[in-house]
């Protein structure tokens, strides 16, 4: 079935809980109101015409500008070979929606991942806990305003760059030469200047002043 047909089947059954088809994107998607999600998903799976037997992917997108978190469901039907995309738009402050784990078992780990990294609460999930990060980690890293904690169990999460204050060798030589020249102009009496000029005039080379490299 085409996305248009799937959408009209959904709109006929659920009315206002299902938004309009968004065709400008490469993969058209449909917004579903959060309270109706579980029923919509159960219908999509059980209806013999639609028969979406697989939840392929569950992702979340953080939109601080819109103050929203989008939960995106990529569905696929192995029998009918068609795909469909559902989106639930949640409030950013307290994102919570019903778990679809009773409908598709693959949602178990996919929802845990999004809970861990984005902080979306899936009500009715059998085992909602962090999956990637340690259980006592603070914050949800995929949020756009996430700030990493400074240390974790006294292990610093940042480190000083070993290159801080590093000066290249040729830069060091240059600086040493400049310092030596400055030293010389300060200490040398102005009377010494004519002799150098005289030496230059006679063609005699004055030995270059030896500058010591800093250790």
């Amino acid at each position: 079935m085409t996305p248009e047909q799937i959408h009209s089947a959904l709109a006929a059954k659920f009315g206002e809980s299902v938004g309009a088809l968004q065709p400008p994107n490469k993969d058209p998607w449909v917004e579903v109101k959060a309270p109706a999600l579980r029923e919509v998903c159960a219908f999509l799976k059980s209806d013999p015409e639609l028969h979406f037997d697989c939840l392929m992917n569950l992702s979340t997108v953080d939109w601080p500008k819109k103050n929203q978190i989008h939960v995106v469901y990529h569905l696929f039907s192995y029998e009918k070979r068609h795909a469909f995309v559902l989106k639930v738009l949640l409030d950013r402050a307290a994102p919570a929606l019903a778990s679809v784990e009773p409908v598709w078992k693959s949602a178990d780990w996919l929802e845990r991942e999004q809970y861990d990294l984005m902080g979306v609460q899936f009500d009715g999930h059998p085992d909602l806990r962090r999956i990637m990060l340690p259980d006592d980690w603070v914050g949800h890293p995929l949020r756009k305003d996430y700030a990493e904690q400074a240390d974790y169990h006294h292990i610093s999460t940042t480190r000083e760059s070993p290159l801080d204050g590093f000066v290249r060798l040729d830069e060091m030589t240059k600086r040493a030469a400049a310092a030596a020249a400055e030293e010389k102009t300060k200490s040398a009496p102005p009377a010494a200047a004519p002799t150098t000029q005289a030496a230059a005039a006679t063609g005699a080379e004055t030995p270059a002043p030896k500058t010591e490299l800093p250790q």
Binding site: K26, Q121, R129, R130, P134, L142, E160
Partner: protein
């Protein structure tokens, strides 16, 4: 030095601890063991919390995340081109596919056409990589259950492929070969002959490998009827790739939703039939991988024969890739570990707003808890190996 970044004072949500999990398993006098995270046969840094009664497991709970490098977050910070080397690290055994998934997702965002020769280069590189990945998989699986001999045989063949890929792109593991809109390098001169010489050699080795291990009496007795996955369960848990096909479901993204130049090639999709045991058992998953290597050889031969003579290997890619904010693309490719999917939402600048990578190993790990009930501990090792999970691909 910059000011250290501070986390918010109050955690946003209540945490559940590991102890909570232990408490959930009611106390029955069983043993609770940690298998991993440095166990040699868990294929990377994975921990299994095993509740056992003697040798029989009641449950094995996979604990993952030890290799989490937040590649998805890195993808939001890098430019589209700059993210390509990071995708290698998603699955370092089969890096070429992660490259291709990312390239295809961004090409889809841009509406870009890839030159035909570049597509052939991609197919040749990917199929070589598929063979090398499956060699590691079948070799380590045999080793995990005690047959040490096949592993060096498999690694020896993999060395040839590593050499071939090194000649192609300069790297033996993390290739960074694909580019958005094409490939980085054309095939070197004489490459076709080298690959076909390798294929002549390798097809004979595959028969030898089958005699050595696949149809070995002890091996069959060890794996037949072990942890069979019915097709319906495999779909429900979203198993993909060889794991799904071993359960009797004939689905290959290259066939079902053709991409690149795969429609031009003839190949079969090996499906597990329960030849020596139950359909979808561990032996079927092993056999599917061995057969897929043979099919990859077929694809490679056809790709070499049909290789276009034109020289363009890069499409017309803008110097700065800018995509209207909020545009989305989804790409599906058949990786060595199955259906690999990228979901990309474009950001305002030159980088993505969100990158989500759905990998085969991640969903394969999710089924282990359900399958482990009532298995022997030694069979858990065979089960993990037969599902061909790779730790970095689970954690990303």
């Amino acid at each position: 030095m910059t000011e250290p970044r501070r986390a918010p004072e109050t955690p946003t949500m209540e945490m559940t601890s590991n102890k909570e999990v232990l408490r959930r398993i009611e106390y029955t006098g069983d043993m609770l063991l940690n298998m991993g995270p440095q166990h040699p046969s868990t294929h990377g840094v994975i921990n299994f919390l095993v509740q056992t009664d003697g040798e029989v497991m009641k449950r094995a709970i996979p604990e993952v995340g030890y290799l989490h490098r937040s590649i998805e977050k890195i993808g939001e910070r890098c430019t589209y081109n700059g993210f390509m080397p990071y995708t290698d690290r998603v699955d370092y055994i089969a890096a070429m596919f992660a490259n291709q998934g990312w390239a295809m997702a961004v090409e889809r965002l841009l509406g870009l056409q890839v030159p035909r020769r570049a597509e052939f280069c991609r197919v040749i590189a990917c199929e070589l990589n598929r063979i090398s990945s499956h060699l590691i998989s079948v070799g380590t699986m045999a080793m995990d259950i005690g047959a040490v001999t096949p592993f060096p045989y498999a690694l020896r063949e993999r060395e040839f492929i590593n050499d071939l890929l090194e000649e192609l792109c300069g790297a033996r593991l993390t290739y960074n070969y694909l580019r958005i809109g094409g490939v980085a390098f054309d095939l070197p001169s004489g490459y076709e002959d080298k690959v076909s010489t390798f294929l002549d050699h390798f097809e004979k080795i595959l028969d030898e490998f089958n005699r050595l291990i696949t149809y070995n009496e002890i091996f069959i007795k060890r794996l037949a009827h072990l942890a069979p996955i019915p097709a319906q369960m495999a779909i429900d848990y979203c198993l993909v790739g060889p794991n799904l096909r071993a359960s009797g479901m004939s689905f290959d993204v290259r066939k079902a939703l053709p991409y690149s130049v795969y429609p031009d090639f003839e190949f079969d999709v090996p499906v597990g039939k329960g030849e020596v045991g139950t359909p979808g058992d561990a032996w079927d998953r092993f056999w599917c991988r061995v057969e897929e290597m043979r099919q990859s050889c077929r694809i490679l031969r056809q790709a070499l024969a049909q290789l276009p003579k034109d020289t363009a290997i890069m499409g017309k890619v803008p110097r700065k890739i800018k995509i209207p904010e909020g545009t989305e693309a989804y790409s599906r490719i058949e990786s060595a570990r199955g259906d690999m999917q990228y979901y990309v939402v474009a950001g305002p600048g030159e980088n993505a707003h969100r990158v989500k990578i759905r990998t085969g190993s991640f969903t394969a790990m999710g089924i282990i808890d359900a399958l482990s009930r009532g298995l022997m501990i030694a069979d858990l090792v065979a089960l993990i190996a037969s599902l061909d999970v790779v730790a970095p691909e689970i954690d990303r």
